[in-house]
Symmetry: C2
Subunit: 279 residues, 2 copies
């Protein structure tokens, strides 16, 4: 690649996708840590959630989304969905010729660094827990570690219903988390992009001795390193008149915008609906 080509490439946006709105917590971290980067976000709101679906279906949906993002000339892709990272990332890595990262490896790596007693908990959707991928990544790097996964299917609906601080969310969280407390974990990975929104509830129940790991933060950090290593980092903030962030969804743009504006400090202008099944 000659110098001009390199510059054109580095000015391209980052593609970020999720099954819906949850991945916006990852997009938010990328906005914070990489303010020069443009982002094209896709939320699969017509087929949300992925967390209770099978590997085959998640791989199929993820492939369609990657094909769409490639039409948007992205320079790298962030799979900002744990369920898709768990089931589809390894397949996508083989098929795509631009850098692609998920949210799981970086969260697992951080958990290994911060644990003191080697007992790590993971809370996530049924799909992510069922894949066993956090356990595999962690134990590949630290064979001594004990990893306890717990599926928490009600957390996503509770977050989407706005019950971020609520006695009902407290009660459900206590039920889900008790066995992790009993085992004596000292590190807990928030293995679903919705969970940072109920971080304080989870933190209160787990107690101050347990470190919470937010893969959104770690993933943005890994993306930064990756762009630097590959020379794909954007060297300057795009000029006035360039649209910094673009949002696409497969359904219900209004609802997406409303939720997005409650998460992002940057108010999104609009989200465009596309027919994802056509990709």
């Amino acid at each position: 690649m000659c110098e001009n080509e390199q510059e054109v490439w580095s000015n391209r946006p980052i593609g970020v996708f999720d099954s819906g709105v949850g991945g916006l917590t990852v997009a938010r971290e990328i906005m914070r840590q990489l303010p020069n980067e443009r982002i094209v976000y896709f939320g699969d709101t017509a087929r949300v959630p992925y967390g209770n679906k099978s590997r085959e279906t998640i791989v199929k949906f993820s492939r369609q989304i990657v094909r769409f993002l490639q039409t948007q000339k992205v320079k790298a892709i962030v799979v900002a969905c744990n369920s898709a990272s768990a089931y589809a990332l390894e397949v996508l890595e083989q098929e795509v010729d631009i850098p692609i990262i998920g949210v799981i490896k970086s969260g697992a790596r951080t958990a290994i660094q911060v644990t003191r007693n080697g007992k790590i908990g993971v809370i996530a959707t049924e799909a992510t827990i069922g894949s066993g991928i956090y356990k595999r990544y962690i134990q590949e790097n630290n064979a001594e570690a004990t990893v306890l996964g717990k599926a928490c299917p009600l957390f996503v609906p509770l977050v989407e219903e706005g019950l971020w601080e609520d006695p009902v969310t407290d009660e459900i969280a206590k039920r889900y988390l008790t066995e992790l407390i009993d085992v004596g974990i000292d590190t807990l990975i928030l293995g679903c992009t919705h969970y940072p929104m109920i971080r304080s509830t989870v933190g209160r129940i787990m107690g101050s001795d347990v470190t919470l790991v937010n893969p959104a933060y770690e993933t943005a950090h890994e993306l930064k390193r990756l762009l630097q290593e590959t020379g794909l980092e954007s060297s300057h903030r795009p000029g006035l008149g360039t649209e910094l962030y673009r949002f696409f969804v497969s359904d219900a743009a209004d609802k997406f915008q409303k939720f997005a504006n409650s998460i992002l400090t940057y108010g999104i202008l609009s989200a465009k609906v596309i027919n994802i099944e056509a990709y």
Copy 2:
């Protein structure tokens, strides 16, 4: 149609579809009230739920499912999903040349018959409530009726998590139902196919003066009348060796079977996964 053709037609199965497992409560009623009828059930488990999706998406998904059911040579179709009945039924009626019914009209009709004070409540998904269709149907037939709709987005995840009798479900139900109690409704339509599973919780909170209407029961009853009127009723129970009930899903057949077996007295043998997007 000559007599032989009529007999061939009347031996065809009923197509029943839903976004997932909820419609099985309707299938169960059809099995009870119409034991001679064969059923082909489709649950769109790859794209479940519909209740938080837009009209366009629900119409598109419903059209694909109807095309699939037609390949199964069904003689009539039951839209066993309130969200799809709310948004897609009127479109489908125009496009399909076999009888097609939804779950909403029959529930609305029954509510009009049983109310004494003319105050009718409807609990359902956001899509169904947002469509305003129960209100429209009821007021077309009884302009004096007051109809109060309440979206209950957490009921479906609570049912699917198995919390049919649980203090958390009680608490959430109280929050959703309080405004219906305050208005003084005497009739409440369970406007989502999952809700019959928490019928006793809802009934306890509403009190014994409020009549609960279960559209699943009413729909099976309406189907029976329709088949009799059109001469499409199956005259005898299919013989040994004929598969009475067949189940198709778009994803996760194992999970579907598990849930189905908790609802149906008839143990389902298997569910087959099909690619619904291809229809």
